[in-house]
């Protein structure tokens, strides 16, 4: 007995020593501490951050991407170059430079497309310098709205048209953190057993139109599984128009820009050059002109119009022109006077080359008005000698104006005399037109400042009908370059994004990252919409323009707490960020932007029949976007089912063996006890 004790104690202590000794050396490296079951789940199922491609519908069918059915798509991850022939569907990891060829191949090769379960796109900075150009849009974007015959002209040389095709699998653009999460899981695999685990991606991107089986705009609007694209355009006049006054109205000089862009991925479409550079130039010009006195004495009225929905069938311009015809509240003050001149600011972010900012003036047609506009541009250019700006007329060999809102204006009224200012002549210089790569690094802020300066002075010249360049008022019009640069970082970057001070001064943004995609129009369209349904950028523009074009009546500004001002010509601005806004005299209005083929009635949208008087409505695809529940992508490791079954068998075996052992012991003891 004593021997047994000593032996046992000795063994136990030996084990103790053995257990402690190795620990002196081995605790290197970080342990991610798991403190609870939810922590464990987060480590097992890695959520991947990124931007989806969603399902869009038109009158004849669908484009974009979605889960093919009602279920999540779970498929093993494989790099595009590692694809071999196999029956199983995979998640293909595609890099940005492979994207164009990949999607072109998918559309043409059905057997290749059937092998695709889902696509993850990696667009890190390491791939971007490999790309000389990438545009998922068409060679002549929105050619069906062109007012001239030559619809085969190639405006967009980097075009691949891939965003207009229909894909039956989910596609997801990985953000920087998403890329590192996926790389981490794939690198761990090298440590582990390739034989019985696989890394899979799980896509939860089920679109409601797929669930309901509604595959075009008409069906889905009827079922309520989609919403039409659109939003709210904003216009403002400088100086404010007095609606009630009986004074003779002045002719209008209308300056137009657009605020919406698009790309293959819904939430990553900054549209830096096309069209936000034009928008920022317009705002810079408004800011400069707001510091000039004496607008009341000028011969013409300036009106600034920022349109949305232009990418999806010129929804903003068409609806604006329609509202003018209807003499509605949204355009009160504009209808009983003529719009004499229109100047559009297109892409102006890439004008800088060789130290000179060059812009091209494209005329809708040759007329005295367009000549006057171009002359004014040239006078403004000369007055800004230090900025090295060159304004040139577009090549007369061009078939007409480039794709721009003026195409819609021309289609409505072929006699429109208008000029669009662009940074290109015969074809786009923006090699990333309508792609997720048209971001801040694609434009030059000095080009935007130059465009803003020349436009500000041009507008003053046009409004005053004065060709005298030595006019001291002209020389005093200066665009604030730091304002323009700050605004560019607010509208074209996620840091600071819409949380920048400039924007927060006017509104409380709902998102930090500006998504310059038009989005869907929520609720009933009206000129006084519920502000919760109006997008951040539209609300910012409304408040900004109202502030800059306002005049102070007397020295007192009254406060408004519920967005209502006592006087009829006053509006309540900055009512979101401060609890109380300020009442200012300004003419600034929202104009809903949606297809002229749609009508809102009792909470539902209906499509109106084709009307021959609405030529643009006849070719309008009537774009809608599917509703969805959630969009989520996760990546995790999965065991092969053989292994799972082996574990179950092992568990059952252990249980059975234990049972047999216990029964054997019991009978042994009973037999031993009964032996006497």
């Amino acid at each position: 007995m004593a021997m047994g004790l000593t032996r046992l104690v000795a063994i136990a202590f030996a084990l103790l020593l053995v257990s402690i000794l190795p620990l002196h050396v081995s605790l290197a490296g970080e342990i991610t501490s798991i403190e609870s079951v939810p922590d464990l789940q987060k480590l097992m199922y890695v959520a991947v951050d990124g931007y989806p491609c969603v399902r869009l519908l038109n009158l004849s069918g669908e484009i974009g991407c979605s889960n093919p059915g009602l279920n999540k798509v779970v498929a093993p991850i494989i790099k595009l170059k590692d694809i071999k022939d196999s029956d199983q569907q995979h998640t293909i990891l595609v890099t940005a430079d492979e994207m164009e060829d990949f999607f072109t191949r998918v559309s043409s090769d059905v057997s290749f497309a059937s092998k695709i379960g889902g696509v993850l796109v990696e667009s890190g900075s390491s791939f971007q310098h490999k790309l000389t150009g990438f545009s998922p849009d068409k060679k002549f974007p929105q050619a069906q709205f062109s007012p001239y015959e030559n619809v085969d002209y190639k405006w967009n040389s980097a075009a691949s048209s891939i965003m207009w095709k229909n894909y039956n699998f989910p596609v997801y653009l990985l953000s920087e953190s998403g890329i590192s999460a996926v790389q981490e899981i794939l690198s761990k695999k090298k440590m582990k057993h390739e034989t019985y685990t696989t890394d899979v991606a799980e896509f939860n991107m089920v679109m409601e139109t797929t669930k309901a089986g509604t595959h075009n705009s008409e069906a889905c609007l009827q079922e309520g599984t989609c919403l039409p694209l659109g939003g709210y355009s904003v216009w403002s006049s400088l100086p404010p128009i007095s609606v009630s006054s009986s004074n003779k109205r002045k002719p209008i000089v209308l300056t137009v820009a657009s605020m919406d862009s698009a790309s293959f991925f819904r939430d990553k479409s900054f549209g830096a050059d096309s069209p936000i550079s034009g928008l920022v130039a317009l705002l810079g010009a408004v800011d400069a002109l707001s510091r000039v006195d004496g607008f009341d004495n000028l011969k013409k009225q300036l009106v600034f119009l920022v349109l949305t929905g232009e990418t999806w069938g010129y929804l903003g311009s068409r609806r604006f022109l329609h509202e003018l015809d209807l003499h509605s509240d949204a355009v009160a003050g504009l209808t009983d006077t003529s719009i004499e001149t229109v100047l559009e600011l297109g892409s102006v972010g890439k004008g800088l080359s060789g130290g000179v900012n060059t812009f091209f003036a494209h005329k809708t047609r040759v007329s005295s008005v367009t000549n006057m506009t171009v002359d004014a541009l040239k006078i403004a250019q000369d007055s800004l000698a230090s900025m090295k700006i060159k304004i040139l007329s577009a090549d007369s060999a061009n078939p007409g104006i480039p794709p721009s809102s003026l195409m819609a204006f021309m289609k409505k009224n072929p006699q429109t005399s208008a000029v669009v200012l662009e940074d290109f002549d015969t074809k786009f210089v923006n090699k990333f037109y309508h792609s997720h790569l048209d971001d801040l690094s694609n434009i030059n802020s000095s080009s935007v400042v130059a465009a803003a300066s020349v436009v500000a002075r041009t507008l003053y010249i046009l409004a005053s009908d004065n060709k005298d360049t030595s006019n001291s008022a002209l020389g005093s019009i200066h665009v604030n370059a730091s304002f323009v640069e700050e605004l560019l970082t607010c509208l074209l970057a996620c840091e600071p994004g819409l949380s920048c001070n400039l924007v927060k001064d006017y509104i409380s943004p709902t998102n930090t990252c500006p998504g310059n995609y038009a989005g869907v129009i929520l609720g009933e369209p009206s000129s006084k919409p519920y502000l919760g349904y109006v997008g951040d950028v539209s609300r910012f523009l409304w408040n900004f323009l109202a502030d800059k074009t306002s005049v102070q009546k007397g020295n007192t500004t009254s406060v408004c707490s519920k967005g209502v001002c006592s006087k009829s010509d006053e509006v309540c601005i900055k009512a979101e960020s401060n609890k109380e806004g300020a009442c200012v005299v300004s003419t600034t209005r929202y104009v809903p932007a949606y297809s002229t083929r749609l009508k809102y009635n009792d909470g539902a949208w209906t499509i109106l029949p084709q009307n021959s008087s609405d030529s643009m409505g006849m070719v309008d695809p009537v774009w809608t976007e599917s509703n969805w529940d959630t969009i989520r992508v996760r990546v995790y490791t999965v065991q092969h089912s053989a292994y799972d079954n082996a574990v179950l068998v092992a568990g059952i075996t252990v249980t059975t063996l234990a049972y047999i052992g216990i029964m054997a012991t019991k009978s042994l003891i009973t037999k031993a006890l009964k032996q006497d």
Binding site: G4, I31, M44, Q639, I669
Partner: protein, 258 residues
């Protein structure tokens, strides 16, 4: 890892306990009560321990001695509790014995009495130990098993050959074995006043606890887990030897008297 694997892991950790419950414990209501109260007691002890250690958590992940301290204090607390449990059990046994004697006045032969005593006490002690083991397995293994029923699996870097859930279930099984048989050894030791048996149980418990620290080392589970099973088999063998000796004693006594 799907439902099949989840059930598999649960069976690996608690399958033998289930077998023991079905074959032995479920036949006698008093044993079921013992298992349940024992499980409750040990779960409460673990909760108290977590409460006591809460202000010091989370422990720094790259030094091992706070974990060693945690293991040592927990083992000491639980062994102290085991001794307390014994005292309470002894009181209860005396009360129940005298009550039974007064009521039933069994006319048993000494052999039967001794056989009942052997059967009865081993089974009772095993039931107590089983409760302890099940509490450990539930607290340390089963509570983490819910994610195993989903599609994904998980590998820990420091033990990358085997999925986390499998290692957890295997370690759980080892501890169930150790706790079940330790209780039999310990109570026998307290009853007979046998120093060896009294000391060996805390030593085994401490050794098993410290062996889990070996898993901190990179790929340490390859050494740690087999060693843990060595300890478990030692416990099993010692308990077997002890029961066999008692069996022989009982037989000798009964043949001597009968």
């Amino acid at each position: 890892m799907t439902v099949a694997a989840g059930i598999g892991y649960a069976l690996v950790a608690l399958g033998p306990s289930l077998s023991l419950f079905v074959s032995v414990i479920s036949r006698k209501p008093f044993l079921i009560l013992t298992v349940l109260s024992s499980t409750l007691l040990w779960l409460v002890s673990l909760i108290i321990l977590s409460g006591l250690w809460r202000p010091f958590l989370p422990l720094k992940a790259n030094v091992w001695w706070p974990y060693a301290l945690l293991v040592v204090t927990s083992v000491c607390f639980q062994e102290g509790l085991r001794f307390l449990f014994w005292k309470v059990y002894k009181r209860l046994e005396d009360v129940l014995d005298s009550f039974a004697d007064r009521i039933s006045r069994p006319r048993l032969f000494l052999t039967d009495k001794l056989q009942i005593a052997l059967d009865y006490s081993s089974q009772l002690h095993a039931a107590g130990g089983l409760g302890h083991g099940v509490a450990h397995a539930v607290f340390f293994c089963l509570s983490l098993l819910t994610p195993a029923f989903g599609p994904a699996t998980f590998y820990v870097e420091r033990c990358s050959k085997v999925p986390f859930f499998l290692i957890s279930a295997i370690i759980g099984l080892a501890f169930v074995t150790i706790h079940t048989f330790s209780m039999v050894i310990a109570f026998e030791g307290y009853a007979k006043g046998n120093r060896v048996d009294q000391v060996i149980v805390p030593v085994i418990h401490l050794a098993a606890g410290m062996l889990t620290l070996v898993n901190f080392a990179s790929e340490g589970c390859v050494i740690g887990v087999p060693l843990l099973y060595l300890v478990a088999s030692l416990t099993l063998v010692h308990c077997g030897k002890m029961v066999w000796q008692r069996l022989l004693e009982t037989r000798n006594q009964s043949s001597a008297s009968g």
